[in-house]
Symmetry: none
Subunit: 402 residues, 2 copies
């Protein structure tokens, strides 16, 4: 039986609250052999105290060796097998800029590129990394392109990147990308991978032809490619799967967007961790499940800034008592993927995970860090196991079978 | 390849014996933070000595967070994926009272209920929890109902619960329950979920109509519902899968029944652990595999009686040398699920597991308990892994592939 269906079948109501405190990119690496990771270097008295009464372990977001993007890492945490449920790149890009994507919209990531005017072959797939303001001006021009029967949105992202969204009746996904992933060849046409998508492919090719005319004098950005053309994956909704009223607290549009795709209510919040905590407090009574997203651990890791990542972790630690004071029944602390400062990027390493509840078996772990968690009582699990465990410890799952 | 087919393909004969010593509901929880679990509190010198020469670990019966009923927990232990092979509630209930269920029989759990005589809506789904002797008398009355072409059996279980079995040609499963799971509405008709079951549904509805007439003057038990209408799941038989002569030793009908569904010979035994040990000894030569079931750890856990659960574990420990004296080649000690006295019910927690054989790698575990097993050499496994491991350590599996 499908694990989500199993949850749907077994979920029962209870007067309990679950908090997933997600430190984006939490997992780290020592800067030097034998040294501490970011989490181990951080002074975290409250997380360590929580770990003493919790069960700890290591968790693989997707599968051994797989480095998750932000979408799959979060999907796994919410219980969706990310190898089965995929969020298309276009959808994620639209969510990332806070675009109000509708379920039937078709979204693509757009890349401006340089074309040889005579032959039409691509000479630079990133259009010489034009400045963001140039990209924005070109998007403005592209908005003038009309397609019959559908509305189009062209939104700048950063430098040579933009988002194209088509909205209208009868659009379908199942569409190939135009980027040939190399220079010296022309962009490919969009092709339907299933018959229902033929009309949408024709519309996109019509748009691309018009875009090429519009951009003709804009070298180095005299062409563009469309990638990851997709729609809302139509995920089963967490409230229906788990019988939980789910609230998401996140400062960045992309995480709010992913939470919304999973059926959570996205709660209004500000820019800081303190704002997020206020949001948690003011919505405490109205929800059973909170996804509390901390972005800056990941940003510091991506920047290769070990000390800043440590500081963000210590900041979260200082806020922890105020989260616990609300009286949650289950608290999970982990990340969506590792972003070691030393690696300056997402990585495939397992995540330390701490699960606190009143009915855990103590496991002797007395500090929250990668090394202690390797010996923790949870062992080595996968992110998709975390929601079922949270549900069990929250007394929200009936017995399976007689 | 399906794991059972893999076993079937690789199983070879050997002159070795496997004993699974199953302490039902073995896994526990500390009563107080930092305290011992039931198993850790028990004085178990023989189990500890066995653990020293064994490899230990923690095992999940079904999946993370899932609390198993008795059926699925045992199926997993015998190597059947319990998410794939399910034993219907009616079948388990019939097995639980020792009913001699035949492969083609249709079994349902029956619940007497109270109906409003005028409107026919359910006013009490448990018929005021009528005494067991009243339930027995009503079953006697219901036996008078004749159905064309099939034999019916109506057997009391306890209080308002009974078992209905239909036996005859052409019966099929795939039938909905009649219990609407709420009061204020009438019982539902049995409906077929596949065309082959239409005739069986009609027979059951005919029986229900007759039952209502029969019970008309028996308020508060003037109606009944049928639940978990099912047949023998037709499991592949363990002797065929593993090439093992399998003997089951259990004092409770339900476990004998599940063992029989799995193709084991159910060995006659008495009420006590000593009786079970005598049975093991007297059948030692005739079987290769023994499932030795200890019920009272679970009963004590369900009763919330920590001390009694400890005492049962200590009782088993004292018998252990007499099991080992028989010279088994592989001994596995674990449970089908956890039943912490503190939780007073089955739970989702992992089970400590001990696997003793002459060719295990020692892992430094010197006591059999949840915490030591968390650090054991088996790591964190699943119950369906145990039979393949037992087979391997018994020298009963050929090499896979060239």
């Amino acid at each position: 039986m499908d694990p989500l269906n199993l949850m749907r079948e077994l979920a029962i109501d209870a007067d309990t609250k679950i908090v997933i405190l997600l430190l984006d990119g939490l997992g780290g690496l020592p800067l030097e052999p034998g040294g501490p990771t970011e989490l181990e270097a951080a002074y975290t008295p409250y997380l360590d105290a929580l770990a003493k009464g919790a069960v700890c372990g290591m968790s693989t977001p997707i599968a051994a060796g797989i480095t998750p993007g932000s979408g799959p890492g979060h999907l796994a945490l919410f219980g969706y097998d990310p190898l089965r449920f995929e969020i298309g790149r276009g959808v994620l890009e639209a969510l990332g800029i806070g675009f109000d994507l509708q379920p039937q919209d078709i979204a693509a990531r757009g890349n401006f590129c340089s074309l040889d005017p005579a032959s039409g072959v691509i000479t630079d797939r990133r259009a010489g990394r034009i400045p963001t303001e140039v990209g924005a001006r070109l998007c403005e021009k592209l908005r003038a392109i009309d397609l019959p029967g559908v509305e189009t949105f062209v939104e700048p992202v950063k430098e040579y990147r933009f988002v194209l969204v088509l909205r209208g009746e009868g659009l379908a996904d199942g569409l190939t990308e135009t980027d040939p992933q190399q220079t010296g060849v022309p962009p490919l046409p969009v092709e339907p991978t299933r018959p229902e998508a033929a009309e949408t492919a024709a519309l996109l090719n019509r748009w691309l032809a018009a875009a090429r005319q519009t951009l003709a004098d804009e070298h180095p950005a005299n062409g563009c490619n469309l990638r990851g053309i997709a729609r809302d994956p139509g995920l089963p909704r967490m409230p229906d799967i788990y019988r939980l009223r789910c609230g998401a607290i996140a400062t960045y549009p992309m995480y709010r967007g992913v939470a919304r795709l999973a059926g959570m209510d996205v709660l209004p919040t500000g820019e800081t961790l303190e704002d997020e905590l206020d949001t948690l407090r003011s919505h405490w009574a109205a929800y059973d499940f909170f996804f509390f997203h901390v972005k800056k651990t990941d940003s510091a890791g991506e920047d290769g800034d070990f000390a800043r990542k440590v500081a963000v972790i210590e900041h979260v630690d200082r806020l922890l008592p105020r989260i616990l004071a609300l009286g949650p029944d289950v608290v999970i602390v982990t990340g969506d993927h590792s972003t070691p400062a030393r690696w300056r990027a997402h990585s495939w390493h397992e995540l330390p995970v701490l699960l606190w509840a009143r009915t855990v078996r103590p496991d002797g772990v007395t500090a929250f860090g990668e090394r202690p968690c390797m010996a923790g009582g949870l062992g080595h699990i996968h992110h998709v196991d975390l929601m079922p465990l949270a549900m069990a410890y929250a007394g929200r799952l009936a017995k399976f079978g007689a």
